[in-house]
């Protein structure tokens, strides 16, 4: 009997040792972009280069906080985030190493860290998604300020923990100051907005008739339309030059503690290659930022969106305050 137990125990130990993270040649990526959006890109990268990639999918802000918590203990080699604020937060904590100039040169500097610690990989516009069976675009406010009026009570959805929403609030802080941002958030909270965990559920909820409008990024709706054809939900670009018409890059940076900086650099180059930029344009419906690839037909051109010019490194310093203000308004 004891022998059999011993044998079983040893088998189990071997089994679990085999399962645990052994392979040192594997690239570990923290991805704030969801698996169904970017998973195929990592698979293509592995097919092409033979470099295995282990991806930890979670929210961008959550992973930025995790990286700061882990500090030099982090197992991550590369951080791929959906917004410049979380990237900036990691950069400001001194956790990113400087990227090679060849990589930075691939992208318009407006969409990368001014200090070269992370690079934009694709652009996404903030929009209002609305139920076109109930509303027309003309009935929507011309800027996000309009959603704080009482007629919008209970009719607008936000994703308060989502990196894009928080980065948008950070942008508002940079552009309009703390007092204005605080009062906008408080007025929004008083309107009892629908709170969702992410952008895609908001789009589905608007399309499902659950709520009338929501503050999201532009491409979630296009994804839904690609799957379902005609949708009740429609996108409205605010175009007023305020924080509601911001175009924000998703981007990537390499951790300073990584012992595989070269492979990580290859992965970023791959994300900026014509193949991946084409993927961002055709499959995730974002704005390509490199390799001269044009966005999907039917999307308004990047230059026409009236996106305010922002120092993206300023967003990072504003993110801490932005999360505090969102929490203080009772939205977190």
């Amino acid at each position: 009997m004891p022998n059999r137990f011993l044998a079983a125990a040893i088998t189990l130990i071997l089994l679990s040792a085999a399962c645990s993270n052994g392979d040192p040649a594997r690239l570990t990526v923290y991805s704030g972009r969801s698996e169904n959006l970017v998973g195929p890109l990592f698979e293509r990268f592995t097919d092409k280069t033979g470099i295995e990639v282990a991806v930890r999918y979670a929210g961008s802000t959550e992973l930025a906080a995790t990286l700061r918590e882990e500090g030099s203990n982090t197992p991550a080699d590369l951080f791929f985030a959906q917004d410049p604020a979380s990237l900036g937060a990691v950069a400001e904590s001194g956790l990113f190493s400087a990227l090679a100039p060849e990589i930075l040169a691939l992208v318009d500097p407006r969409f990368s860290d001014p200090n070269g610690r992370w690079v934009g990989t694709s652009g996404r516009a903030r929009v209002v998604v609305y139920d076109s069976t109930l509303l027309s675009a003309a009935e929507l406010p011309s800027s996000v300020a309009g959603f704080t009026s009482p007629e919008w009570k209970g009719r607008i959805a936000i994703a308060p923990t989502n990196g894009s929403f928080l980065a948008f609030v950070a942008a508002m802080l940079v552009m309009e100051g703390e007092a204005a941002t605080r009062s906008w958030l408080e007025a929004l909270a008083a309107n009892d907005p629908g709170k969702y965990a992410k952008n895609s559920p908001i789009v589905a909820a608007v399309n499902g008739g659950e709520i009338e409008a929501g503050l999201v990024n532009h491409y979630y709706l296009l994804r839904l339309q690609a799957e379902e054809g005609e949708t009740a939900a429609a996108n409205h670009f605010l175009g007023s030059g305020g924080p509601g018409s911001l175009v924000m890059p998703a981007g990537a940076g390499i951790l300073v503690t990584s012992n595989q900086k070269e492979s990580a650099g290859h992965l970023i180059e791959f994300l900026l290659s014509a193949e991946s930029q084409e993927y961002f344009a055709r499959e995730t419906f974002e704005y390509p930022l490199a390799a001269g690839i044009a966005p999907l037909d039917g999307l308004p051109p990047l230059e026409s969106l009236g996106s305010p010019l922002l120092d993206l490194s300023a967003l990072a310093t504003a993110l801490d305050l932005a999360t505090d203000l969102v929490a203080a308004a009772g939205l977190l």
Partner: protein, 525 residues
């Protein structure tokens, strides 16, 4: 567990020091993965200083506490009503098909709360599945209503099972006396039966309340701001982790409060059922009552089983296997659950020996600590472990080892309970006899006692296996990078409203859980 023959004499008279130390080590190893991180969690929350105080005193925290307690209260009440009512109908009336109703009413135990929540959010709503099928707009059940529904369905089976078992043990003599004195059947139930059920109902409601307080999956999917959901929101949406930690500590205190209150309640009145020699006379229902009973039980069956399974199957049929079959997640779920069950049982055996055979002041605390670790909301365990491991545990951080150790520790009480009661039924004189015939204590234990404990060990292992399969928040926070389980798949797909993608792992989870539950339910009798 030394086999040094020189100390044989000492062992015959009492436990050797080494043995006792080894037994204690097993208990400590089992419980440390939950208890140690909590020390650090409290430390971190306290180090937050003024910010921590702000968080505790803010109106938001009070609001959260109230909304969480409201949910706990309404779920406990409705689960108690359904659980007790169903137990009465299936145990005390002459309703036809009682055998089948018993299974139907108990079966939702297999369905995790987040799967019920997934079906609620995807089936209801003006453009949900039901509106689609029936052509008119169903209302949404997000927020409090959805959370109440999902958690009532998830928790009433606890109350049902405990109360039904107690009803079978009640001596019918008192009821007969009541009827003989002219009480109507309803009044007999209210004045004679119910008071005797106080303790089992209390135990069931305690389980339901703790479950509701700890639940993360359902409340996060239906978007109800209970404590766990807000803790996760703070964790995911804020660069500063301190507020999440402070809220976690408050939630733990709240859970301890519920435990304490339940302990007082139990101490208050103790009802010891005597063995029953004859069955109770069943109450015969008239036609209206019978119809009502069928209607109520069917409604419970539809809300708790029919809707979830029907919805999942419909999604599966509408878009069959959008992402293929998640074999990797199935393997992930099975392997961690098996490992956790094995580790928990292997550690539970020596710990049970410590508690049963070396009972003393300190060993009583082992049992209590195990129960505490089991009752603490899992999201707080996940937070505490992440905090500790990311800073101090080096290569263990985000490893399968750590995940399994934490599971085994969290669910240790289940294994310990089963193994312990099995051991308690075996007389030490059996081992003593073996030892007097020359077997070493270790071989007497493994050769005589251990095989006799077989069933208890199997039940303990199965319980840990089942709960690990369904576990969500600890997995979500502490799993290795790239490691998926069925529970994580269901939750993340449902969070993106990809219902067809969520249906596949959800159905697999139900299928894998159903078999062990069936074995448990049929062998338990």
């Amino acid at each position: 567990m030394t086999t040094d023959p020189a100390s044989n004499i000492e062992r015959r008279t009492g436990p050797g020091g080494t043995v006792r130390i080894l037994l204690w080590m097993a208990a400590v190893i089992a419980l440390a993965p939950v208890i140690v991180p909590f020390g650090f969690l409290v430390g971190r929350a306290a180090a937050g200083g003024s910010k921590a105080v702000d968080t505790v005193l803010s109106g938001r925290t009070v609001e959260l506490m109230l909304s969480t307690l409201l949910l706990v209260a309404i779920v406990s009440i409705s689960a108690a009503v359904i659980g007790v009512g169903a137990a009465w109908l299936t145990e005390r009336t002459d309703l036809a098909g009682r055998k089948w109703w018993r299974v139907i009413v108990a079966l939702p135990l297999v369905v995790p709360s987040y799967v019920i929540a997934l079906t609620i959010i995807s089936a209801l709503g003006p453009r949900g599945l039901l509106s689609d099928l029936f052509g008119f707009g169903f209302p949404t059940a997000r927020g409090l209503v959805g959370a109440w529904w999902a958690l009532t369905v998830a928790t009433y089976p606890f109350i049902y099972l405990i109360v039904a078992a107690a009803m079978r043990r009640i001596d019918p003599a008192l009821e007969e006396a009541g009827r003989g004195l002219g009480l109507s059947p309803n009044r007999v139930f209210a004045r004679v039966v119910l008071p005797q059920l106080r303790q089992p109902i209390g135990a069931g409601v305690l389980l339901a309340a703790l479950y509701t307080l700890s639940d993360f999956g359902a409340v996060s999917l239906v978007g109800f701001d209970s404590f766990t959901n807000v803790i996760y929101a703070q964790y995911a949406g804020r660069l500063d982790r301190t507020p999440a930690m402070v809220l976690a500590v408050i939630l733990v205190v709240l859970a301890l409060g519920v435990l304490w209150a339940a302990g007082r309640f139990r101490r208050g009145r103790r009802f010891v059922p005597r063995p029953v020699a004859r069955p109770t006379r069943l109450m015969s229902l008239n036609r209206t009552q019978r119809t009502g009973a069928y209607a109520v039980l069917s409604l419970v069956g539809v809300a708790s089983l029919g809707l979830p399974v029907g919805t999942l199957v419909t999604w599966l049929v509408r878009r069959p296997l959008p992402d293929g079959i998640p074999w990797g997640s199935l393997a992930g779920s099975l392997s961690v659950s098996l490992l956790a069950a094995t580790v928990a049982v292997v550690l539970a055996i020596p710990t049970a020996v410590l508690i049963v055979r070396h009972r003393g002041g300190a060993s009583v605390w082992v049992e209590r600590t195990a129960y505490l670790a089991y009752s603490v909301p899992h999201i707080t365990v996940g937070l505490a472990v992440v905090f500790l491991a990311s800073r101090y545990l080096g290569p263990l951080y985000q490893s399968l080892w750590l995940l399994v150790a934490v599971y085994a520790s969290v669910f240790f009480a289940q294994a310990l309970g089963a193994v312990r009661s099995a051991l308690a039924q075996i007389s030490p004189s059996l081992e003593e006899a073996a030892r007097s015939l020359g077997r070493s204590p270790f071989r007497a234990m493994t050769g005589i006692t251990l095989p006799l404990m077989g069933r208890g060990i199997a039940v303990g292992g199965l319980l840990v296996f089942l709960t690990t399969m369904k576990e969500l928040p600890v997995t979500l926070l502490t799993r290795p990078t790239g490691f998926d389980t069925l529970a994580v798949d269901v939750w993340s797909s449902a969070g993106e409203l990809l219902y067809s993608s969520a249906a596949v792992p959800a159905l697999m989870l139900l299928a894998v859980s159903a078999l062990p539950t069936y074995v448990l339910a049929t062998r338990q009798r």
